[in-house]
């Protein structure tokens, strides 16, 4: 019994906010496209969720708009462009590459280069040669090792 319940739990797919099946498009292909587009769009209310994941009212309205435009046969770019025209680039969860975001996109490379540079400059510094032991030191060492 428990095994069966666990099996059903594992079968449960990722929980999207569109709990209401009436929201989904009838054509599964179109619905999949709508989900894919919606996942790239930021919910303006919760801000770190996509409109596909958010339960906010505005997110639901935007999901509806995305689905309407998908069923009208608009391209992904047209649909995302429609939202960017209203809410700005911020509505994209994945920022486009341009001069304003160049530093953002380049930051992993910059971090890697900085790390390599630091590692290299530390390695290049050869360890200083230890001065040879003085006669007194050698004597004390011998007495310590007890030979």
């Amino acid at each position: 019994m428990i095994r069966l319940a666990l099996m059903f739990l594992m079968l449960a797919g990722p929980a999207f906010a569109i709990a209401d099946p009436a929201e989904a498009l009838k054509d599964p292909k179109q619905e999949a496209r709508a989900v894919e587009i919606g996942q790239q769009l930021r919910c303006l209310v919760c801000q770190n969720e996509s409109i596909e994941d958010s339960g906010a009212d505005l997110a639901r309205d935007l999901r509806h708009i995305v689905r309407t435009q998908v069923s009208e046969g608009k391209s992904d770019q047209e649909i995302i462009g429609w939202l960017v025209a209203r809410y700005g680039e911020f509505v994209r969860l994945r920022p486009p590459f341009n001069w304003g975001t160049a530093l953002l996109w380049a930051s992993p490379i910059i971090a890697l280069l900085a790390g390599l540079f630091a590692a290299f400059s530390l390695r290049r510094k050869a360890p200083a040669q230890a001065a040879p032991l003085t006669a007194a030191e050698r004597k004390r060492l011998e007495s310590l090792i007890g030979s």
């Binding site: 209310v45 801000q47 505005l58 309205d61 708009i65 209203r86």
Partner: protein, 173 residues
């Protein structure tokens, strides 16, 4: 590489980050910077066309003077907070037009009776589609439209004293 220089690099970086954070926090305190703010795409652009029960974009343009448009809702708590500010603006002669966002007409009317009605004209956007065209992310949101129908200024959230003063001054000029 000079050891002293190697030590200075992280110190300078930490100092710069500190100054950046300080100015950010200071801006948040003074209300000039909102980390969650979404900049309006409409500034210095014509207002989006719309037709609502109450008034239309053409009515705003036909007013022949700058108009302040306020998106609000009866279910919105910050709108209650903003109500006295709007009433004061209306008393000062600022032409305020209201758009009720995703609100039942009866609820809107009850809200305006209870908290005072600062609006010379009232439109109803029950499905909330006009608000999306304007890029409204939440209520209240306030827009200043100049007499040729260009959006000149937007404030998201309940207007503090300073914003209301700024708006009144901008309209007097």
């Amino acid at each position: 590489m000079n050891r002293r220089l190697l030590l200075a690099v992280p110190l300078v970086a930490a100092g710069a980050a500190g100054v950046g954070f300080w100015s950010m926090l200071n801006g948040m305190r003074e209300g000039k910077f909102d980390p969650r703010g979404v900049p309006s795409m409409l500034i210095d652009k014509p207002m989006p066309d719309f037709t609502l029960a109450g008034f239309t974009a053409a009515d705003v343009r036909a007013a022949g003077r700058p108009i302040v448009i306020n998106f609000f809702a009866s279910w919105c708590v910050p709108c209650i907070e903003e109500a006295p500010t709007l009433l004061a603006l209306a008393r000062a002669g600022v032409p305020l037009w209201g758009i009720a966002y995703k609100d039942k007409p009866a609820a809107t009317d009850a809200f305006l009776t209870r908290h005072g009605n600062p609006f010379a004209k009232l439109a109803r956007d029950e499905p909330g589609t006009v608000a999306i065209d304007w890029g409204v992310t939440g209520v209240p949101e306030t827009y200043l439209i100049d007499k040729s129908g260009i959006v000149r200024w937007r404030f998201s959230g309940p207007m503090p004293e300073g914003a209301a003063q700024f708006l009144a001054e901008k309209l007097r000029a």
